[in-house]
């Protein structure tokens, strides 16, 4: 009698594809657009790179708040997670924002939103690349 409760073992090809999809997702997070570039989706790759890059540069130049690991409350932690979503562009934002954040004016506040949105947008793009690599319709 066969054990019907046991899950069928995934074929090696599916397992390999899943690993590749995971790596592509991570690559897309580390360098915005790289995940799509690896899938030869050039338009999406260029747009991810440009939009996330522009949001990060504008956010940093507007002296938005770039959160760090020393969070004071839950909102700071969430902001840090969102900012980390930009991958290596987090370091770019840090290097651009030499004068530190200034949220005493509207521009700085907008800059904070630009930086956080860049991160979340990049995470969305990385997830999209992961799904496309798995063969889901994208």
């Amino acid at each position: 009698m066969t054990d019907e409760t046991a899950a069928p073992e995934a074929p090696p090809q599916d397992s390999r594809r899943e690993t590749m999809a995971y790596l592509i997702g991570v690559a897309g997070w580390i360098v915005p657009g790289l995940g799509h570039a690896l899938l030869k989706m050039w338009g999406r790759a260029a747009m991810c790179f440009l939009t996330v890059g522009l949001l990060v540069i504008l956010g940093a130049e507007m002296r938005g708040n770039l959160f760090n690991s020393a969070a004071n409350d839950a909102f700071d932690s969430l902001g840090y997670l969102a900012d980390l979503g930009t991958g290596t562009f987090y370091l770019l934002a840090k290097s651009l924002e030499t004068n530190g954040a200034d949220v005493s004016h509207a521009g700085g506040d907008y800059g904070t939103r630009f930086l956080a949105t860049a991160g979340v947008l990049n995470l969305l793009a990385a997830l999209h690349a992961y799904e496309a690599a798995r063969g889901r319709k994208a």
């Binding site: 999406r44 747009m47 507007m62």
Partner: protein, 64 residues
């Protein structure tokens, strides 16, 4: 726009820039054909601006 001490943008300029960049990103991620992308970008941008300006006016009475 002043680049000497960082970029200084007004409320409307910031909102326009934000809406435009996000609309482009959404359009490219969610649609495949160029014409569908353009339609999506224009529609998304319009809704961003409509809702943004709408919320701005809705808050206006409370600012006095």
């Amino acid at each position: 726009m002043n680049t000497e001490m960082g970029i200084k943008l007004g409320h409307l300029q910031s909102m326009l820039l934000f809406a435009l960049l996000i609309s482009i990103a959404f359009g490219f991620l969610s649609r495949r054909r160029p014409i569908d992308r353009v339609k999506y970008i224009v529609w998304s941008l319009f809704l961003f601006l409509l809702i943004g300006v709408g919320i701005g006016w809705a808050m206006y009475p409370f600012s006095h």
